[in-house]
Symmetry: C2
Subunit: 437 residues, 2 copies
């Protein structure tokens, strides 16, 4: 029988509603796990047992508030919470309390969620320099970033759901490295108010769960529109575009194998998998992403630059435009992004879904760097929905996720297909494990 | 000799730096004006004389902090200020204090600015329902909105500079109605962190001043890039595209006359003014603006909807999607906007600047509605820089501004041309006034 901390949100809420479980039981189950694991995994930037117990007790005293009643959620520490600090892993805000929830946290609390604590982020969620968190599946490896703590906490049963962000690959890559579902929604479909801003064009809230049905529950909470036609309930006949992307040369054997295995599994389940080669113009999409992220980063970090002499040089370099970006180049990058969005939308309309890598391979060793965002950034710039599907495992025994990518506002379809693909990959991993035993 | 409150920011800072003026003198000059006018104009949502005096005294005790030392700035009350409430003109946040500055306010303070108070906004800066502010030039008329208080305060010498926002026409239209310079920068060129979010695609910080050189000073403060080639110093040979836009049928006689008069004045000054007719696809740009604003508004106001039973029905209607927007329609609106941006960028590249209406006419009578944003919304969706140039006056004696519109990231060029055009329009108004006397 599963412990409360091992259940997904859908199960937890069922049990709380039926009276089988108290929210305080969930809190204690979590605290027990965090006590045992925090010294090793270090997912939490801020966590207070007593606050968690108090909030859990309150939730047990009131009628069911909403569809997340009692579900513990870790919040990346660049997202404002009224009752906890928001420190951004940076000196200036070490004890900063805005006293107001980010819009997404406000929405989660209104749905009855138990806000568990603040999870580790890289500095301002804007750098590849690692935070303190370790990959719970292999402590000598990075969990990815910048949403390091949220991905690790959810993977390690230290939270049921997690919030992250993505500007490059900061939600999807950690999901891949830690073996959990991660959802980067259609840009602008969920409010980013109260999140540290890095790039207006790119910044997106990210959501972590251990099941796709939990992502669907979150889609309900965030009022994501229902599609005109119902999502597929089987993989039979589903048209999948296999997209290696212009960055395929960066794929390590683990990712190459995962893409090949996934293709075989999906075809065996009746899906029609054909290759999608993006047109030549996509070869420079990484450059456009870089230019836009830098120019907007300059606006985002200007006030930090002007007020904080000891600001890390990464941010000074951005504000000072050491990359030497010109107006012409900046304008061209926005033009290019506008054009690529229209092109991708056309191409994707011929398929149900696009399948692409989530990361270059398994989680690399070490904590200094959080990995390579090449397979994530282009989707972020295109502003389309992405879900990392866990289940496949590399030769090193670590997860290799794959991304399902949809057209803008097709989030529910992507999640539904992630559920089907996830079940397929998980069965396959189980078979592999038995074969290896 | 001018009173401190009548000077522009450039003059004020000169005098403070040379020791001719103390910041406390500026504060007293402002307080005197606010005491005399606030009951009529009602520009301020929150204002505290003692706080202003204390801050002014502090600024007199320290060395010059930056290029805005001692300049009083009114902050629209949807923009966070650490030492003043941010109420959004809505019940839930009536006494809300985030305890942290918006990034733009942080930057202004670091430059030495004197944050004067919070100016009136329409509710959440997201509705045409008027706030309490009256047009200082004609108290029976609207000052426009949603940045009502900032435009009015700057026009009425109750602040030297003002911050507003624009999602439809909320910076430019009030500037036009109140007869001040208003700048809607290139989208994403100035951080919007700490502003109430309404629409990610559209929201832009807005800036008010009584001189174009003050806008240039603000461009320096906000590190707006310098163009590759120097901006024009004379109107001689400047290529101006006269753009009536697809909404020209909404132009009242005052706006029609202003466009004609401006064309004549600019040609007399040596500019080459030719008509630019936007292609047919721009005829539905207002619809795309509406769809995007509504879909993103749904995300922005979801948490208010879930937490605040008495939320105004305007916002409930948005969150509930009473407009019945479909996924297909939403996706098409984003496609359309992407395409129009590329088309406009091409067209505008053949000119130095585009000249267009700022409003349908003079400020309408009454406070219930803040006016028609038809002439503003398209530029907001295109994400290009706009400056309202005051100076021309309608038959009713009220200002009729005109918009100078540039390509993305050409803000400094737009401001420079606004300075030249502004001088021209002001001379003309002076001549008219003498002729009428």
């Amino acid at each position: 029988m599963s412990l409360p901390r091992q259940l997904d949100a859908v199960s937890l809420v069922d049990q709380v509603k039926s009276g089988t479980l108290r929210v305080q039981d969930i809190a204690e189950s979590l605290i027990e796990r965090i006590d045992a694991r925090d010294a090793d995994v270090r997912a939490w930037a801020w966590f207070d047992r007593q606050l968690l117990r108090d909030r859990a007790e309150l939730l047990d005293e009131v009628p069911i508030k909403g569809p997340l009643h009692g579900v513990p959620i870790g919040i990346k520490d660049v997202i404002s919470t009224y009752d906890m600090p928001t420190a951004h892993n940076t000196p200036r805000y070490q004890h900063s309390r805005t006293g107001i929830d980010a819009a997404c946290v406000d929405t989660l609390r209104a749905a009855g969620a138990l806000i568990a604590g603040k999870t580790v982020t890289t500095e301002f969620a804007a750098t590849l320099r690692g935070g303190l968190t370790r990959n719970p599946l292999a402590l000598g490896h990075t969990p990815g970033g910048s949403s390091s703590g949220s991905a690790a906490a959810v993977a390690d049963w230290q939270a049921t759901l997690g919030l992250g962000t993505q500007t490059g690959g900061s939600t999807i890559r950690p999901a891949s490295f830690c073996g959990v579902f991660g959802w980067k929604p259609t840009w602008s479909s969920i409010s980013r108010e109260g999140l540290k801003m890095s790039s207006t064009t790119l910044d997106t809230l990210g959501l972590y769960a251990r099941s796709a049905r939990d992502l669907m529950l979150l889609a309900d909470v965030f009022a994501i529109e229902r599609p005109e036609r119902p999502a597929p309930v089987t993989l039979e006949g589903v048209r999948i575009a296999l997209c290696h992307t212009p960055h395929w040369s960066k794929a390590l054997p683990a990712t190459q194998q995962a893409m090949a295995d996934a293709t075989a599994l999906l075809r065996a389940a009746g899906a029609v998998v054909t290759e999608l080669v993006l047109p030549d113009t996509f070869e420079t999409i990484a450059r456009s992403h870089f230019v836009i992220a830098r120019r907007e980063g300059r606006a985002s970090f200007l006030n930090e630059y002007r007020t904080t002499p000891k600001l890390h040089d990464d941010f000074k370099a951005t504000v000072e435009n050491r990359a030497g970006l010109t107006v012409a180049e900046t304008r061209a990058a926005y033009r290019h992004a506008d054009q690529c969005r229209a092109i991708f939308d056309d191409l994707a309309s011929a398929y149900d879904i696009v399948l692409a890598p989530s990361a270059t391979g398994e989680a690399p060793a070490g904590q200094d760097q959080t990995g390579d965002a090449s397979f994530n950034s282009l989707w972020t710039l295109l502003q389309v929905p992405v879900v990392n599907v866990p289940g496949l495992v590399g030769a090193g025994g670590l997860p290799v996720g794959l991304s399902l990518v949809g057209r803008r506002y097709d989030d529910r379809k992507v999640i539904a297909l992630a559920e089907l693909a996830g079940a397929l990959f998980a069965q396959n991993a189980a078979i592999d494990a038995r074969q290896m035993a």
